[in-house]
């Protein structure tokens, strides 16, 4: 099932992606 098929799945995916990208960004910036 594609999480983007539901609004809830879309929002949860967005927050999960935000956490992952923030972690990667912190590693790149050396923060």
């Amino acid at each position: 099932m594609n999480p983007l098929d539901s609004v809830t799945g879309t929002i949860i995916s967005g927050f999960v992606l935000a956490v992952v990208l923030a972690y990667i960004a912190a590693q790149i910036a050396g923060a």
Binding site: T10, L21, A25, A26, I28, G30
Partner: protein, 171 residues
Amino acid sequence: MEALLPYERWLHFLAGITWIGLLYYFNLIQGQALAAAAADKDGPGGAAITKYVAPRALAYFRWAALVTWLSGAAYLGKNFTGAFTLGIGQHSSYLTNIGFGAWLGTIMLFNVWVLIWPNQKKILGFVQATDEEKAKGKRIAFLASRTNTMLSIPLLMFMGGASHGLPFFAG
């Protein structure tokens, strides 16, 4: 050009709110409204939405997306390259964070103009398309729109976080 920065940022916010506000309208309201209208056999149907509302909403949506990107690019100015290379090797949290936001916004602009709008033209009947093309286009436009809704969450985190700090960054 430094004197223009506050105006470029202001325009970026206004256009961005218009764009993302309409994106949320499509994903949280219009899609569900059309589904409810289709399911309501005794109701008026969703034809008025697709004829009178959707084209106007899509016009503001796609042009606001372009203005958002252009005003953002103008605002980045001399930081444009540094942002799009994510500030790698520069130890700049600002460049890395605004760069992630810029990349997410660029992907979203691509989705609007390359995946959503051309397929919406088929769905709404602005261009000729077979029923099969319309069905395929509907799925592509839907997934691109949902992808943009998903991407808007980290996008706004990075845009705000670049100047005001990220929740996951130290200090």
